[in-house]
């Protein structure tokens, strides 16, 4: 993709983010941080490329290290968000 297309996606996504995040209820701000943390680990894509392509051995091991780090975040982030969200309950009537 050329730089301008990428930039367009980025700018529009910033606006989407702005409106979506303001609509998050303050009661869920902690789960919001946990889940954003999990999804920002999509950086694992870069780590996978470095480790899969193996154009250089150093890049491969760096990549694998990155995969471990990002996986901790992905699994940990989603799991802890799930655990928190499961606790939010409405009044029983």
């Amino acid at each position: 993709m050329d730089f301008i297309s990428i930039l367009s996606i980025f700018v529009l996504a910033c606006f989407v983010g702005y409106y979506v995040v303001w609509s998050v209820t303050p009661a869920l701000h902690t789960p919001l941080m946990a889940v954003t943390n999990a999804i920002s680990s999509v950086i694992i894509v870069g780590a996978l490329i470095a480790s899969a392509e193996a154009g250089s051995p150093a890049a491969k091991y760096l990549g694998l290290f990155g995969v471990v780090l990002a996986s901790i975040n992905i699994f940990g982030g989603f799991a802890v968000t799930e655990r928190m969200l499961a606790m939010y309950k409405k009044k029983e009537k």
Partner: protein, 486 residues
């Protein structure tokens, strides 16, 4: 399984087939839906599932479109990370959530640095180098430099935030002389190096020192930025680092031309920025003054704090509190960080249950900066099975204090300090606070009269006619009240 058909047309040099681009876009949309779900607790779990689906799409797409000679090693790496992540997520106490989030942010930051170095070492695989000259494109160099710098700042800053939040490092600000000049100088040096790297003629190893220097300086500035920031400002810091981790992912997304990463980075970056803004607004402080640091260091020097005379106050017992609480029609509970420290949320919910059995209306009032991260108190109350529709935000409940019989303050202090409304010299002046002075009766659980809030100012609420101080550990006091209510 043979992936060669699906990957047809991929040169192995990073060119991405159209279907893969669409798949990354779909992953990005799932991430948007994940955040959208958080607009209400009822839809939040479906939102979280969407996040997982998006991540699975992104990972599978990447694996399928690249050489997967190392699939076994990658599998082991994912498995290892997964085990560690799930174990931490299962074991962590809800009160420790702020340091967990800070810790996770540091991992994103470090992963960004690692990916940045990986791309620099193997630019061909990332599709960021010229086929003929093997040089990294100029625009990719900027993205790479920024990605590594932001990642490194996120990493070291989050490590410090983690150490402060978990109590492994003093929460009080550590002030270096001339720190603003050092920080600005370091920042300028980082930007200068990124510029120099971009325009330098040869690519690859010859400029190695610049990339290393960018990383080292960025690690240093992350450290320097966070050490002068005190405990009370941690909600802002955690939100800010959340934002940085997003921008780091976005920068790497630019490098890879990957829409899933760019969308996610923009979402997370905005999310953290908005949370920082909400926290700053709730303290009536500017973002710059939080980043400049030092808040809470001059305890006692602030308005009214300098000469703290002994003023008369009323002290009560658990029995007094229980008696007044069961007579009340309406009780508003204001929890703060002290409740989290004492782990008093379960006892508090028991107390509320007893009161509700006796026909008392109980509500919880939460200040945006209560606790150590946004929404911290809500999670703790949810953990103690407090229904979320009994929990209210500052602006929704503040008008109700004049009709409430008892305001029950547990582990909060600055957020009920009327000096924020009246005393212009107070460091917390202008911060929105709960109008507890309008309640008929105030119970204030506090460990002792000695300590003041994080802002280091005295609180007139202690000495009001209708205030009764309950001086004890929050959990023990609430448990005693529960016993007296039987």
């Amino acid at each position: 399984m043979d992936f060669s058909l699906l990957a047809a047309g991929v040169s192995g040099e990073g060119a991405t087939p159209a279907w893969a681009m669409l798949a990354y876009l779909a992953a990005g949309v799932f991430f948007i839906l994940a955040l959208r779900g958080l607009s209400s607790p009822a839809t939040s779990r479906a939102g979280n599932r969407n996040g997982m689906i998006g991540m699975a799409i992104a990972v599978v797409t990447t694996l399928v479109t690249h050489d997967i000679a190392n699939i076994a090693e990658i599998g082991v790496a994912i498995f290892l990370g997964g085990i560690i992540g799930v174990t931490i997520a299962r074991r962590i106490a809800m009160t420790a959530m702020p340091e967990l989030v800070a810790g996770f942010h540091s991992l994103v930051g470090l992963a960004a640095v690692v990916v940045g170095f990986g791309a620099w070492l193997d630019p061909q695989s990332f599709g960021i180098a010229d086929e003929a000259t093997k040089q990294i494109f100029a625009v990719s160099r900027i993205e790479l430099g920024l990605g590594i710098a932001i990642g490194a700042i996120t990493f070291s800053g989050s490590v410090i935030a983690f150490l402060k939040l978990s109590g492994r490092m003093s929460g009080s600000p550590i002030l270096l002389p001339a720190r603003h000049i050092i920080n600005l100088g370091t920042l300028a040096a980082i930007l200068g190096l990124i510029g120099l790297y971009t325009v330098s003629p040869q690519g690859g190893a010859a400029e190695g020192w610049m990339i290393y220097a960018i990383a080292v300086l960025a690690f240093a500035i992350g450290f320097l930025l966070i050490i002068p920031i005190g405990g009370a400002d941690m909600p802002v810091v955690v939100s800010m680092l959340n934002s940085y981790s997003g921008w780091a992912a976005a920068a790497m997304g630019f490098t890879l031309g990957n829409s899933a990463m760019i969308i996610t980075g923009a979402l997370v970056g905005s999310s953290g920025a908005i949370l920082s803004y909400i926290m700053c607004r709730a303290m009536n402080r500017s973002f710059i003054s939080v980043i400049a640091g030092g808040f809470g260091a001059d305890a006692g020097a602030g308005g009214g704090g300098g000469a703290r005379e002994q003023r008369p106050y009323k002290q009560g017992s658990a029995e007094d509190a229980a008696y007044m609480l069961e007579q009340a029609e309406k009780v508003i509970i204001i929890p703060g960080y002290g409740m989290a420290v004492a782990q008093a949320q379960h006892a508090l919910r028991e107390m509320a249950d007893k009161l509700k059995e006796k026909g008392v209306e109980v509500k919880y009032a939460i200040h945006p900066v209560a606790g150590r991260m946004p929404g911290h108190m809500n999670v703790l109350l949810a953990e103690a099975s407090v229904p979320y529709d009994e929990v209210f935000e500052l602006e929704d409940i503040n008008s109700e204090f004049s009709q409430c019989d008892v305001a029950f303050i547990i582990g909060a202090n600055d957020v009920v300090n009327p000096a924020a409304k009246t005393d212009k010299s107070s460091p917390i002046y202008g911060m929105p606070v709960f109008d507890v002075d309008k309640a008929k009766q105030v119970f204030f659980i506090k460990r002792s009269m000695g300590g003041v809030g994080y802002a280091g100012v005295d609180n007139d609420v202690f000495y009001m006619n209708q205030t009764v101080m309950l001086l004890a550990d929050a959990k023990k006091m609430v448990e005693e009240i529960v016993k007296s209510l039987d």
